[in-house]
Symmetry: C2
Subunit: 323 residues, 2 copies
């Protein structure tokens, strides 16, 4: 059976209190007592029960990671980063796919709180933003902006979008389409605004279409776009997956990339390099963002002071073969 602190105490001929003390390196312990306990622990292959600890401390050494869908290729790298740093601090991560549904989000929130998770990283937010403030538990917003009271880690989305658009114009595009991401999702909105700003400033023609982060929808929308605007010669997609969808549409339409139409994506996921031609994109520091967010969360959990609440990571244009 599982060996408990009591077993160790008996074996070492001390009280459980003493065992607890050596376990946690707290309070005075005589050299001899310590040695006896250490020996007992080893002999019995004892490992403290973390549930019991949790009950007392009201902490669990677990953090929750809420995201829309791990199946979206943007998230695995993020999740990996979170898990890596969590692990390095002795935290364990439970992961939750919300599909952007408020109900699922709520359910998870409750479930995780009951499990005393020490904090959560949110890469999705569909509840009223004030709701989050009510839950008094450390939170970090990642690739989302929820409220000023929640530490936030995002990319320079607007700047990146501006750069992408500029690049298309430099490559001589005269009529650019923007495949916009979900309306209301801040990073997608920022990219949209960046696009509009440059397009207006440079005075070129443009259209936009709403998409989700789905390849099929992107393909469909692109097809539609070309039906109404055959003059399109450049596409700025709100994500690399969307860009892949656009490329499929172009293939169907018998348009050459980059000769007839140039494309820039956004994200910098591995997919981009696998496409042929490989995708020009705005690279985000996905892994680093995940690390930073987790670090911020753990800092909160461990009551360390958080200097800055808002962290923007630079993006960079990676020119490959679609432009």
């Amino acid at each position: 059976m599982m060996t408990t602190i009591k077993d160790v105490a008996n074996y070492a001929n001390v009280s459980v209190a003493t065992v607890s003390r050596v376990l946690n390196n707290k309070g005075y312990i005589s050299k001899t007592a310590e040695e006896a306990v250490l020996k007992a622990i080893k002999e019995l292959d004892y490992r403290p029960n973390s549930v019991a600890r949790s009950l007392y401390h009201k902490t669990s050494n677990m953090i929750g990671l809420l995201m829309p869908d791990i199946t979206n290729p943007f998230f695995p790298e993020l999740a990996r980063a979170v898990e890596d740093v969590a692990m390095s601090y002795g935290y364990t991560v439970v992961f939750c796919n919300t599909d952007e549904e408020m109900e699922k989000e709520k359910t998870y929130f409750e479930a995780l709180k009951q499990k005393y998770v020490d904090g959560m990283i949110l890469t999705t937010s569909n509840m009223d933003s004030t709701k989050y403030d009510e839950f008094d538990i450390p939170l970090v917003a990642l690739d989302r902006i929820i409220s000023e009271r929640i530490p936030t880690v995002v990319s320079e989305n607007k700047k990146g979008a501006m750069e992408a658009t500029q690049h298309l114009i430099e490559r001589d595009c005269k009529y650019i389409a923007h495949l916009r991401g979900p309306v209301g999702v801040r990073p997608a909105d920022d990219r949209y605004n960046g696009f509009i700003e440059i397009a207006e400033k440079e005075g070129i023609g443009y259209v936009t279409a709403d998409t989700q982060f789905s390849i099929e929808l992107a393909e469909e929308k692109t097809l539609e776009l070309f039906q109404s605007h055959p003059e399109i010669d450049g596409i700025f997609a709100s994500s690399d997956v969307t860009a892949a969808g656009a490329m499929h549409a172009l293939f169907k339409l018998n348009k050459q990339v980059p000769q007839d139409v140039k494309i820039v994506g956004f994200d910098g996921i591995p997919l981009g390099t696998m496409l042929v031609p490989s995708l020009t994109t705005i690279q985000q520091s996905i892994y680093k963002m995940g690390e930073k967010a987790t670090q911020l969360l753990i800092d909160q959990i461990e009551q360390k002071a958080i200097d800055t609440y808002y962290h923007e990571f630079p993006t960079s244009l990676v020119v490959r073969h679609t432009t």
Copy 2:
């Protein structure tokens, strides 16, 4: 502060035992008592503390998912399936990337056991297989074969590989290369054996090269292969990612796909459809396998009898544009 069962009991003027009874629908409760308790629960917005429950029951309603690397595109869909069914049964999943390192695997195993996880799904196994039997906790092997005592869910890897090879031969390939997956990993070995069996039987020329599930390595190995065997006109890759690597190599070598060289992958991940030309592959029922594995795990946890220990899912050849 958090409201406890005691608060509810006081508020409803009953004992904690009564509250516990209505909570768990166990034992006799009078209609009036029940109503009072229900009302108290609602008024106080009480939610039972699952850590306390865990401590008593030695269960946690959590399951662990050990996998090599969520960043490998084979795993997100699997993880999603696991999470979906876990969630539907009220379980929460903690996920762990082991990078195929035995040390990490051990660390997680210990950590999860201490948290009383109710069971684990293993899509990675690097410890001595007898080790797993020692840990007396429900286990399921997914896309891996560990021991007969552990319920197992895999694809018909050998059969799929045979079909792939046969397809290449039917498409007139005379000299086929197999990019083999990690030696010692059962599904990869099975695919290798399936390939060899058909190649021998049909008496065609072939070579093999060892790869991991990494795109870069696959590209490199393919380059090497063509240096020593320029007559290669067909490639059977052990995974779609590997196939993508091969395609990159071919692009560099100025070989046309499928005219000069035909390629078949294995897995059927979304990547395959995004490639140009899109990838012919052996499709696995990834999501279904994840579902089945989770179902098997939960059955064990809930002490339901498990009929079959070994589950093989059929694969299917999906012919796209690389052959």
